[in-house]
């Protein structure tokens, strides 16, 4: 076996070894950089920029905004669209809470037949609509406080 061939084998093996490491990193790249698709994967920016595609003018009596009225994020306003709103500690939630009492996927709000429905996603400490614990998807009246950990939100026109 010639020196040159051995050298090439040696370099090739090192290259393959590193290729393995890089391939392994490729498998978990979603951990590091987030999913490749879904450019709107960072919905935290939503509150700051106005929603451009408000479909049709909402009918009278329908909520247009979700307002955080209590807790560390007090004052945050999210414009309601047709998209469901997820709330929790997970960074991909629409409303990201940094609250020890909130679960990573705590609750979600979604529109249905002109109403917004709140649903608890199996959270540890529960979601409260006004005073009662949300055990099943429940319609949210305007101005009724929803409490998640230290955060209170309500829907407004």
């Amino acid at each position: 076996m010639s020196e040159l061939a051995l050298l090439l084998i040696r370099l090739a093996f090192l290259a393959v070894l590193w290729f393995f490491v890089i391939a392994a990193v490729g498998v978990i790249r979603t951990d590091l950089f987030g999913p490749r698709t879904a450019p709107s994967a960072n919905p935290r920016k939503l509150p700051t920029k106005p929603a451009k595609n408000i479909p049709a003018k909402p009918k009278r009596g329908e909520p247009r905004q979700m307002v955080v009225t209590g807790g560390p994020l007090q004052g945050t306003i999210i414009n309601l669209t047709e998209q469901p709103i997820t709330i929790g500690r997970a960074t991909d939630s629409t409303l990201v809470l940094s609250d020890d009492y909130a679960s990573s996927r705590h609750a979600q709000l979604f529109p249905q037949d002109g109403q917004w429905i709140v649903e608890d996603l199996g959270s540890t400490n529960g979601t409260y609509l006004d005073r009662s614990k949300v055990t099943r998807p429940t319609p949210v009246p305007l101005g009724t406080p929803i409490r998640i950990g230290k955060t209170v939100i309500e829907l407004r026109k």
Partner: protein
């Protein structure tokens, strides 16, 4: 009644099983290992060794069997753990085979393959038997007692065995076993269960002095007990590695549980103080320090037991390897005493060079990253602590042995996980990986969906 068909799936990326990626990576790892075998043969005598296909095939059969068990009993498990471990175990087999070719006594690739098979059996058994790792939380104190018992076993008169000046083996009939390996894992389980129960008081009580939060004096109990235990191991069994490993892991888990820097400070101070004191009082600890600080000294080099020959030969080997290495099968691992167990990292450094050694360390880092990621994703504190603790145990062990071989810290007799020859360690590490796989399965499994379509429920009336 109106049906309530509900919301489209929330726009969050759910974790996927990634079976395909796992299979491809597994096959890739086995191809790399077979390439390494072939390369060793080409390097030694210019032909592909006959063992390439038998060893390669043996490894492939074992690992795909492990994959089958994983796919059936832990389908949501992390896709990378098994391929990464396969690569390390396979590379270890190749290097042991390579050292066996030089005729060094004690290296046996066939033995190692047999132990690998047993390891895979233990891995599968753990996954099949342990449906929910949280049952371990109920065994907290049992595990603590078991860990202690395993630690002191080598000191017992009949079964204890003294090898190379360290009292860490037990011998039952023809079989020898290092119970400390299993003890480490039992202790990590104990620490996790204990800290879940006690972390609030350890985290919150205390007062602030200057810039760190000091705990109350009476809460120092557990730290002091673990410290005493690890010093006992150090002094009675002359096993610096296990001592450092157990204490370091406890401190890390304490930090994970309480987020308090002061525990780390207290731990480091205690251990350094204890080690220095032990160095003054006991000869064998002092020898280790001398050898570490001045390995080139001819007096230390030629010392019969605990001399610096091994360390120096390892350093020479890595030096001659350089950046790209001498090539597989073309180094001189025979020069290093015990190159197949404690010093396998030096052989890797010689034949694959810095580049290859870094790749191997990256694979370790990735395994640890997957473990810590599991800890982050886990939903209950016990899982978080156990996954974090086991990952740290692995990382810390690699650090201690690689640091020792490269003379960053005093050399201690620890095995390199999955690479070194040695059945006890291999078995234990496969069980450790099985626990991580079990926990990552639980952490990545999507939570049960709330029943949303009550409207569709049909009520039959009679």
């Amino acid at each position: 009644m109106t049906t309530a068909p509900v919301a489209e799936a929330p726009a969050v990326p759910m974790t996927a099983k990634r079976r395909g990626a796992q299979l491809i990576m597994l096959a890739f790892a086995i191809v790399v290992v077979m390439g390494a075998y072939a390369s060793v043969g080409l390097g030694i005598d210019g032909q592909i060794p006959s063992g390439t296909f038998t060893y390669g095939l043996g490894l492939a059969v074992l690992m795909f069997a492990a994959y089958g068990v994983l796919a059936k009993w832990a389908p949501w498990a992390d896709p990378l753990l098994l391929p990464l471990v396969t690569l390390l175990n396979g590379i270890g087999l190749v290097f042991i085979y390579r050292i066996e070719q030089t005729g060094q006594a004690g290296a046996s690739a066939t033995n190692q393959l047999m132990w690998t098979a047993l390891g895979v059996v233990m891995f599968s058994a753990t996954l099949i038997v342990l449906k929910d790792h949280r049952t371990l939380q109920r065994l907290t104190y049992t595990m603590g007692a078991l860990g202690l018992l395993l630690l002191i076993m080598p000191l017992l008169p009949v079964i204890g065995e003294d090898v190379n000046g360290a009292n860490i083996w037990i011998k039952i009939g023809p079989l020898t076993y290092q119970p400390a390996e299993m003890a480490k894992m039992a202790l990590v389980i104990f620490f996790a269960g204990y800290l879940v129960a006690k972390r609030d008081v350890l985290a919150l009580a205390g007062r602030r002095l200057f810039f760190i939060d000091l705990p109350r004096v009476r809460d120092l109990g557990p730290v002091l007990i673990t410290w005493g235990l690890s010093l006992g191991v150090l002094v009675l069994q002359k096993d610096l590695g296990s001592s450092l490993l157990v204490f370091g892991t406890f401190i890390a888990m304490l930090y994970i549980a309480t987020q308090r820097t002061s525990w780390v400070l207290i731990g480091v101070l205690l251990f350094v103080g204890g080690a220095v004191l032990a160095g003054q009082l006991f000869g064998h600890v002092q020898d280790r320090f001398e050898v570490w600080l001045d390995p080139g000294n001819p007096e230390f080099y030629s010392r019969e037991l605990g001399g610096s020959e091994q360390l120096m030969q390892g350093l020479f080997a890595m030096g001659s390897g350089g950046i790209l290495g001498t090539g597989l099968g073309q180094g001189f691992p025979r020069e290093i005493p015990l190159s197949f167990s404690d010093f396998i990292i030096a052989v890797v450094g010689e034949e694959l060079g810095l580049t290859g050694l870094m790749a191997i360390l990256m694979v370790y880092a990735l395994i640890v990253e997957r473990g810590l990621r599991t800890a982050l994703a886990a939903r209950d504190p016990f899982t978080k602590l156990l996954a974090g603790g086991l990952s740290f145990l692995l990382a810390w062990q690699v650090f201690i042995i690689v640091g020792g071989v490269t003379r960053l810290i005093p050399l201690t007799g620890l095995v390199t996980p999955f690479l070194s020859a040695g059945g006890s360690a291999l078995l234990t590490n496969w069980i450790l990986i099985a626990l991580l796989v079990r926990m990552s399965d639980a952490a990545r499994r999507p939570p049960p969906q709330a029943i949303q379509n009550e409207g569709l429920t049909q009520v039959f009336t009679r």
